[in-house]
């Protein structure tokens, strides 16, 4: 199990981030990004503090956070593997790639391996259609996936 920061700690670190970024034009997304960097996810406890500081409602913050898939409500594993499921990749067999990854890792989409090492997620286009099917491991894109590459990726993520 991943250790979650204590609520007072969330409050103080959230407050510091809000203080730093509140002056930006359209500060909500930058604040949420920074909070995700800070905690590895966007803790629910941060949302009312953001709403209060920006003078918007809790509902509005919730609406924005849930709109973007990249904002997590829970911490991810040590490595995040995103596999493209958009049209071009689908036509090049991304379904099979996903199935294989799920099987090797023993998890489904939006799940994390029990050892906390890998989180698997679908993504809809990495802009790498020419090299489909593609995936991204911890921010690094990988094209032209085949069985060999898939096994390599899993081995690397598992290390």
């Amino acid at each position: 199990m991943t250790m979650q920061p204590a609520s007072t700690e969330i409050a103080s670190r959230t407050a510091a981030i809000i203080r730093e970024l509140k002056g930006l034009e359209g500060p909500l997304l930058p604040i949420l990004h920074e909070i995700q960097v800070e905690f590895g996810h966007v803790p629910q406890a941060s949302l009312p503090a953001i709403a209060e500081a920006l003078n918007i409602s809790n509902a509005e913050v919730h609406g924005v956070v849930t709109f973007y898939h990249d904002y997590r409500s829970h911490p991810a594993g040590k490595h995040v593997l995103k596999v493209c499921q958009a049209e071009a990749c689908q036509s090049m067999g991304s379904d099979a790639v996903a199935a294989k990854l799920k099987q090797l890792l023993g998890i489904g989409f939006h799940e994390t391996t029990r050892d906390g090492l890998v989180t698997l997620e679908p993504v809809y286009c990495l802009g790498l259609c020419a090299c489909a099917p593609s995936a991204m491991l911890d921010g690094e894109v990988i094209g032209r996936l085949d069985d060999e590459k898939i096994e390599e990726i899993v081995a690397e993520a598992r290390s």
Binding site: N58, A59, E60, H62, G63, T66
Partner: protein
């Protein structure tokens, strides 16, 4: 009869003066520039199919059903988001459009349950209607696969399905029926201004979410009902509709809660009220509502309601149910006996601000014609009597200067001693809407109220002044305006007395009125006062809205005068967007004042000493009217304690709970020999009554209410009185029993008498109200359509009068024994003494009065949130639970007065306004300490109340 159907134009009206002509399906139509094609078509009588559009919110363009084709333009633009253009040729029904619409509708229906026959919205569902409109005959996609409709898919749990949210007592949220048109979200944002709803997720996962995926009751939702109103399906449905079914006829009537005067359609099935729906043509509310008017009408059928007259010889006896005749004969005999024994002036009456104009008129007429004295007063004594005095002296009319629409033109709003978000919610929504469009806000209030800061609005200046320093602070605002030369000399020279202005200016300019001197005792940063004054004077149209935080002080009238001075000095009078506006507490407090409820005034604010005025009534009523003012409420109680006042007729008011210094009120009532309470419930005052006359609700009678903007609104009878008689009939029968020759057959005849005798009502009649909808007085030959804004071409009194406002601190001062200042107020879900709202599900939001105390003061006393605390003043003590919050400043505590268990008025003192006797509810020096439970007073009181409410059970016949 039948249901009143209002046309939904799809998008809001445009306010542009410029006209544009276009062609829709071959018909020529001319509309204001900026109007949507959808609205223009509707005005031509052509309804374009739509789902996500409704005229209470701005166009959104998401449902893709309202597409049209326009000659010379590509594609199929949505008619809700496309504005009209000159010469445009629009086609609303083509083969292409038909195909698109049917295809779109097919997708909607493929994720919607097909349980129309058993659905609560059956017969009132826009989705159902539009499916019919576009000719949907088949759903080719079937119901397999992803959906939000079924709890289980092929036996497996369907994680997209969400259970109903029944947490709100008045409406249900059923996500399985939601088409995610976001009308509810937009209504909450644009109309109500609470922003409690959002669309969470995206794409097929999009769902309406209260708060952060919470239950409605746990979210920021204030249950105003705008979302329910906006919902085109059964997703958000009134529970009453689910239980009863669709209404079949409706009548337009006026809410009986606060002074905003919202109009509703009372939708009925037979004589059962199905729901109250805000009426778009209601000129005060423009189709909006709050939790009280929309939902909290359950008291009218509550089991506590008393339906039979009752009498008892002594207040220690149990009540005895009797016939109307016996009750009225007993009352008439008692009143005559008392007058014979103790003199003509030993009895009196209190009119009700909750009853209609006609009923109020009759009560004061009974007292003046039947009792032959002027001992009539009304609850305005304890709320806005200083408004009547202050505005009467300075401007010449005892009422607000604007209509509510005026707020749409204001640039700077100063809210003083009022929390409209709680007490006048529909006005607050209209104000917030204007603030979101850029108007600036100044708040003078000891508490950081919802108006100071809430989603998307924030006051430019909040002056958290110490209770009791209003006059000093408002005068120092004037000091800044005068000394910095921010006054409007042209306006003052034209419309006011220049010499009086100069005298006043030299007074306010004195150094002791400067923010730097005043700021210290008032606990306000002088720079805030200076900033606020500059903004009000120079920020464009400046308007002032104030409440009981201004009037309920020992210098209440002085503050009202100071406010009037500010408006005159800055020229903020006599046009839209400016003015001085008292936010009146009760539905008809304006009306009850207009109707001659005060001991010194006949209807229309004409002093009883005026021979000409008395002559009108003396001729009509055939009696001599006293030319000396009668007793005010506090005087009646004093006289009762002294033994010279013995009988009282109280219609629809609970003076024991609402008036200050409860012990004194109780002693006064206990000393009387015949107290007649005419009310819906055995209220607290009834504990001391000898006769109880059951009252009728606003749903059970015809009449009129006059709201805070002087608007005379019709109240219409939608069901027969459960107690047998409307209140005006009861007063009439009492008058007849006392030997008066009254023969009103309908309240319209009473209004005719009012119009005949009162110049400001001269043109008012029920026929005229039927035609106009409503009118604002004065309504006479000079102003046949009524008067939305007063003092347009000059003040009613002639020249506006500047009056010096010397600050005299109240005698109620803190000291070592009572170091804190208590101030009182209201909360959104409850209304005044709570006799009605406590008998509805509104108690879910506020089941007890709490004492708000600053963390610093709480810590000093070792108090934790939720602890029972003892609240003590010179007058008395009570106990309640603490709520620790920094909304109040250190040194200030706050509570509401909705619950008789708390009896906050045991604490308040008998200090009152110098001019009008309006009690000083808003300042009481108190001490707060830990407590184990109810005080002795509370225990004794509850025991007495319980004893007093016994009703003798008749022996069953053998």
């Amino acid at each position: 009869m039948g249901l009143i159907q209002e046309i939904d134009f799809g998008t809001p009206a445009s306010t542009s003066q410029k006209q544009v002509t276009l062609t829709v399906d071959g018909f020529t139509v001319t509309v204001s520039e900026g109007t949507s094609i959808m609205r223009a078509s509707m005005e031509a009588g052509i309804a374009i199919p739509k789902l996500c559009a409704t005229d209470m919110v701005d166009a959104f363009g998401s449902c893709r059903l309202c597409l049209v084709e326009i000659d010379g333009r590509n594609g199929t633009p949505s008619s809700c988001t496309t504005p009209v253009a000159p010469g445009m040729v629009v086609h609303t029904q083509t083969g292409k459009l038909k195909d698109i619409r049917r295809g779109v509708m097919e997708l909607y229906i493929s994720d919607h349950p097909l349980d129309c026959l058993t659905c609560a919205a059956n017969g009132d569902c826009e989705l159902q209607t539009q499916a019919g409109v576009v000719g949907l005959r088949d759903v080719r996609y079937g119901y397999e696969g992803d959906n939000h409709v079924f709890k289980k898919n092929d036996g497996a749990e369907n994680f997209k399905w969400m259970a109903k949210d029944e947490s709100n007592p008045y409406f249900t949220y059923d996500p399985s029926k939601c088409i995610v048109c976001s009308r509810c979200v937009r209504a909450c944002e644009e109309v109500q201004g609470t922003f409690a709803l959002t669309i969470e997720g995206r794409g097929f996962g999009s769902r309406v979410s209260p708060g952060m995926h919470q239950l409605f009751i746990d979210s920021e939702c204030v249950s105003c009902g705008a979302c329910v109103q906006a919902c085109p399906t059964a997703t958000l449905s009134e529970k009453s509709v689910i239980q009863i079914g669709q209404p079949e006829h409706s009548m337009v009537t006026t809410c009986a809660y606060c002074g905003v005067g919202c109009q509703f359609k009372a939708e009925m099935r037979g004589d059962e009220l199905v729901r109250m729906v805000p009426y778009k043509d209601g000129k005060a509310n423009r189709g909006h509502s709050c939790v009280k008017g929309r939902f909290a009408y359950g008291y009218s059928t509550h089991k506590d309601r008393i339906l039979n007259p009752m009498i008892r010889e002594k207040i220690t006896d149990p009540w005895r149910e009797v016939s109307w005749e016996e009750a009225l004969t007993y009352t008439a005999n008692e009143f005559r006996r008392i007058q014979y024994q103790y003199g003509r002036t030993s009895i009196g009456g209190i009119t009700s601000s909750r009853c209609t104009n006609e009923e109020t008129y009759l009560v004061q007429k009974l007292i003046r014609q039947g009792f032959r004295n002027n001992n009539v007063d009304t609850c305005a004594r304890v709320c806005h009597s200083p408004t009547g005095y202050g505005l009467g002296q300075t401007f010449g009319t005892s009422a607000g200067t604007q209509d509510f629409d005026s707020v749409e033109h204001t640039d700077v709003v100063m809210v003083i001693g009022a929390n409209p978000a709680a007490a006048h919610p529909v006005f607050a929504s209209r104000l917030k809407k204007r603030l979101r469009k850029g108007a600036k806000l100044i708040v003078l209030d000891p508490r950081r109220t919802e108006m100071v800061k809430s989603a998307h609005i924030e006051a430019e200046y909040h002056l958290p002044l110490k209770p009791g320093t209003n006059v000093a602070v408002v005068t120092s605002l004037a000091h800044v305006i005068v000394t910095e030369g921010l006054f409007d000399e042209k306006f003052i020279r034209e419309r006011c007395d220049w010499d009086e202005f100069q005298d006043w200016a030299s007074f306010v300019a004195l150094p002791e009125n400067s923010p730097e001197v005043v700021g210290k005792p008032a606990n306000v940063d002088p720079e805030l006062i200076r900033g606020a004054a500059r903004l009000y004077a120079r920020g464009g149209n400046g308007s002032i809205y104030y409440g009981l935080g201004v009037t309920e002080h020992s210098q209440g009238s002085t503050t009202v005068i100071a406010i009037a001075n500010l408006a005159m000095a800055t020229g903020n009078i006599g046009r839209p967007g400016v003015g001085v506006n008292p936010l009146r507490g009760q539905n008809n407090v304006q009306g009850s004042c207009d109707m001659g409820s005060f001991p010194h005034e006949l209807p229309g604010y004409r002093h009883v000493s005026g021979d000409a005025v008395r002559d009108i009534y003396e001729t009509l009523w055939g009696v001599k009217i006293d030319d000396e003012p009668g007793l005010r409420i506090p005087n009646m109680l004093d006289a009762a304690v002294d033994g010279s006042f013995k009988g009282l007729y109280v219609q629809g008011e609970d003076i024991l709970q609402s008036d200050p210094d409860t012990k004194h009120v109780a002693a006064g009532l206990a000393a009387m020999e015949c107290v007649v309470v005419h009310d819906l419930f055995l209220n607290e005052t009834a504990n001391y009554a000898h006769v109880f006359l059951p009252g009728s609700t606003f749903l059970e009678k015809d009449g009129t209410f006059t709201n805070a903007e002087r608007r005379i609104n019709r109240v219409r009878k939608v069901m027969a009185p459960k107690n047998g008689l409307a209140d005006w009939e009861v007063t009439q029968k009492l008058a007849q029993t006392m030997g008066l020759n009254w023969n009103y057959r309908h309240p319209s005849e009473i209004m005719d008498e009012i119009a005949m005798t009162t110049p400001s009502f001269a043109k008012v009649s029920y026929d005229y109200l039927e035609k106009m909808g409503s009118v604002q007085w004065p309504c006479n030959d000079k102003a046949p359509e009524g008067t939305p804004i007063v003092h347009v071409d000059g003040f009613v009194r002639g020249k506006g009068k500047f009056i010096r406002t010397e600050y005299v601190a109240t005698d109620e001062k803190t000291g070592p024994r009572f170091p804190l200042l208590l101030t009182t107020g209201r909360i959104l879900s409850q209304y005044n003494v709570g006799a009605q709202t406590r008998r509805t599900d509104n108690v879910m939001w506020h089941s007890e009065d709490r004492l708000e105390i600053h963390p610093h003061d709480a810590e000093n006393r070792g108090l934790r949130d939720g602890d029972w605390v003892r609240l003590t003043s010179r007058s008395g003590e009570t106990t309640l639970r603490a709520l620790i919050t920094d909304r109040v400043s250190p040194g200030v505590v706050y509570t509401t007065f909705h619950h008789p268990d708390t009896q906050a008025n045991v604490i308040t003192t008998d200090f009152s306004d110098w001019a009008t006797n309006c009690p000083e509810y808003k300042v009481t020096a108190v001490q707060v300490g830990a407590s184990n439970g109810p005080s002795d007073w509370q225990r004794d009181y509850n025991e007495q109340a319980e004893q007093s409410r016994r009703i003798a059970t008749l022996q069953a016949a053998e």
